[in-house]
């Protein structure tokens, strides 16, 4: 009896530890107090209005100077990067997963490990390596280097997700398609792709979210003019913690939940 109560308490404490900070940020984002966000001073949507560039009654001293246009530019860069990397890494990751799963070749196991390494490689190491590589080949840091750099590890995530799906797929279905006259490409389009679609879609989603969120690696390989959202937020924090950051964090959380929820919904409908 006593043990169960202890366990219940532990459970509550555990989830509070994880979710309380996030809940606090969300609450603070509606706090009207411009000076000390830890003291509740009434409900406001001003911080949201501020980051959307609308009129607010907030005095300049409690906001980051000249931040909103930069924020919008960073969001735009982040989306450009995320959409590009998602498209590229989904195509390459899926192709690699198919190759490793369907063809027998020497050292297949070795290649499989090579494809997993970027996921466990320390971000700092990958960041430094990419930076030095780009400098060595004389490539100026820009949005392009961010996209190329992020793809090096996002491909791994897509590869893993699609491989998991392929492992459960019956090869004889592809053979049946060929048997009935379909060329390899027709088989891929009509049989293989529909069967692994949930895996491809899941991999793409994962790539998108990780790309939007990546700070460390991107920080190394971003040009000075090309700031992504995480880098921009990092820059804001170094100038002090001001309330609008809460609103940005809350919106990012919301976007992630919407994207992940959409993914789960589409996936459940497929079954």
């Amino acid at each position: 009896m006593k043990l169960t109560r202890l366990l219940t308490l532990y459970g509550i404490a555990f989830f509070a530890f994880i979710y309380a900070p996030i809940a606090l940020v969300m609450v603070y984002s509606f706090n009207a107090n411009p000076v000390n966000m830890m003291i509740w001073d009434g409900f406001t949507l001003d911080w949201y209005r501020l980051i959307f560039g609308m009129e607010t009654g907030i005095t300049e001293s409690s906001t980051y100077i000249d931040s909103t246009p930069q924020l919008h530019a960073a969001v735009r860069t982040s989306f450009v990067v995320a959409f590009s990397t998602t498209a590229i890494s989904t195509v390459f990751g899926t192709a690699l997963a198919l190759a490793v799963a369907r063809y027998r070749f020497r050292l297949a196991g070795f290649y499989r490990v090579l494809l997993l390494v970027p996921m466990i490689m320390p971000d700092i190491v990958l960041g430094i390596a990419l930076l030095i590589f780009f400098i060595t080949i004389g490539m100026n840091l820009s949005v392009l280097t961010i996209i190329v750099g992020q793809c090096t590890f996002l491909i791994s995530y897509v590869f893993v997700t699609v491989s998991a799906r392929l492992a459960h797929m019956d090869v004889s279905v592809e053979e049946a398609s060929a048997d009935l006259g379909a060329t390899p490409f027709a088989t891929f389009r009509k049989v293989t792709l529909p069967s692994i679609a949930p895996g491809v879609f899941g991999g793409a989603l994962l790539a998108f979210i990780i790309s939007m969120d990546d700070l460390v690696i991107t920080y190394f390989i971003a040009g000075t003019g090309d700031t992504t959202l995480p880098i921009h937020i990092w820059g804001m924090l170094r100038r002090g913690i001001k309330p609008e950051i809460n609103a940005i964090a809350t919106l990012m959380l919301l976007a992630t939940i919407v994207i992940a929820g959409l993914g789960l919904y589409l996936r459940s409908r497929q079954k």
């Binding site: 279905v173 053979e175 060929a178 009935l180 060329t183």
Partner: protein, 375 residues
Amino acid sequence: MYRAMIGPGHSACPGSSSESTLMPAPLEITAASKSFRTPEGGTITALDDVSFGLDGAEFVTLLGPSGCGKTTLLRTISGFEALDHGTIRLEGQDVTDWPSHKRPVNTVFQSYALFTHMPVSRNVGYALEIAGADKATIRRRVGEMLELVGLAGLENRRISQLSGGQKQRVALARALAGRPKLLLLDEPLSALDKNLRQKMQHELKSLQRELGIGFIFVTHDQGEALTMSDRIAVLAHGRIQQLGTPQALYRRPANLFTADFLGDSNLIPLVVAEGRGILPDGQSFTLNGAPRAGTLMLRPEDLTRTRRGEAGLTFKGVVAARYYSGKDFQIELDCPGTGRLLAVLRDDGAVPDTGAELTLHSATDALHVIEEVQP
């Protein structure tokens, strides 16, 4: 069969050379070999110098124990496995190097391999869809095919909503919709229960007659093979042990493997002397041909309690076991000198029970000698 119809001197097509009047065999495999690498680094010979063919719209069964190469042989015909050596011809055309999507044969897979993301109608119409047929043609053909396999009206079902037997029929309809020259079936009935299985055996057989195309049917079930086939190819260790009609294989097996694999048999070692085969108990009989040694095969149903004719063999012994199977008894008879014999006796109310003495006879024409010595 086609070849026999157009013999030399019988000119079906006057004016053309006899070569071009020959209707090519639907399938002709010559000296096919295939081996696989095992993960342990060795090699397995799955097909060892196999030559085999269909002479017309036959129902041919590949029969053999698990692992003997039946699936591999089928997969080389459909093009999923490339041969190491040998050639495959379909209607006279060398297709050895053709990819599977170009070969005019279709397969009914053991696991059905249906497209679960498509409804029944698209599964069945897949070959036509791939070939670029128009929607109306596809719909008509799908309807015909579903009618043929007894699933009319199930066009819009999802695959997951079908029973095992229905999936089997969809797989069959899908394979036939594209009008293949040859249908390959890899143990298609093994997942069905006994009643459904028997029903499908009869349906498949009559379907083959109706369609007039060759069927190559794989099974490890000898009863199934005997029931359904025009000819049976018995496979073991990647080699064809014997190819012939069910009766020929059952009555006159060419080797011990076939004798043992098809039905029950008594195999008694023989010593050969002066043109006679001598049994271990001293009885002997005249041999046709001149084997140096061999084994006598006696089917259980060829042992009778009454003697037929003057000659023949006689076995005297004690009933070691008796099993009732409805219309007859299975008897195990312990004979001094010969060993244990298996017999099947009609239940006429006088079949002796365990422990009783019994004398059985076999007529000379039931004796079949296999020129192979039991290890």
